[in-house]
Subunit: 162 residues, 2 copies
């Protein structure tokens, strides 16, 4: 079966919509939450990702603590799998959670790019958890580098500078 | 072998110290982070727990969405297992993260009670993830209730009222 370009486009938009709505009832459920709450939640998610990233960084560039890295990597993977896209629903393009949102307006106008970047992050986050559980420190360090690149790629495109 | 009361006490204090320091290099690693950052991280963790709790609540008291509940419960369990105690190190008894800490001073003076409450939370959080993966909606609802009770128990003892 040959897919037309417009069908491919439709599928991409659908995929983006699913990701952004966290695939299911999330959109309906979370419509009860105010934009300010959704923004506060997503800002909190990124802080928690930052905390766990800092712990892994301290371990792979300092004294390696496998248990510490494992619990950090598992937390990052669980959040990557948690459907954070559902916190970026229409109505949250601007507004204040803990502080003004740092998400650039372009984020909401480029669902295909968002899906691509989010997919990269999810893939590398889950791979990191797998590597920590099974691999040695060097492999973990390399995979942590790949994960960090996916964070940076999204920040470069879609995060306002401090 | 019979343990004396003082030995039991010493073990409890050791356990508390391990929990609070996240069992390992975490204390040394995180001494690099300022108290304000540690407080911001822990406030963020509770927001993320609140987000995922809200999603589960909406599902078990509304239209049940197993995938949504599963990803939420997995995120809660991963955070429960992540060593959040390491964000409550000495020096963080007061101070401002996103806002002034809501942790009561009593928290830092009752490590045994903290260990008990944290242990209850961790147990019920992991049990919820297990029940969601294997059980029906009624079982999930009951287990979510048990988890929520452990949140409330700790808030009652150690969280300042808004």
């Amino acid at each position: 079966m040959k897919h037309s370009l417009s069908m491919k486009h439709s599928l991409s938009v659908l995929l983006a919509a699913l990701l952004l709505s966290s695939a299911g009832g999330a959109l309906a459920q979370q419509s009860a939450a105010k934009p300010e709450q959704l923004i506060k939640w997503r800002q909190s998610v990124y802080q928690v990702l930052g905390w766990n990233s800092a712990r892994i960084k301290a371990s792979v560039y300092g004294q390696y603590n496998r248990e510490e890295v494992l619990r950090s990597a598992n937390a990052i993977a669980a959040l990557a799998n948690s459907g954070v896209g559902s916190l970026f629903v229409p109505g949250t393009e601007s507004g204040k959670g803990w502080k003004e949102t740092a998400t650039r307006p372009e984020f909401f106008r480029n669902p295909q790019r968002v899906v691509e970047l989010a997919g990269n992050f999810n893939r590398e986050a889950n791979e990191l958890a797998r590597v920590v559980a099974t691999g040695d420190e060097a492999a973990v360090k390399a995979q942590f580098g790949r994960l960090s690149q996916t964070c940076k790629a999204c920040h470069d495109d879609f995060k306002l500078k401090d």
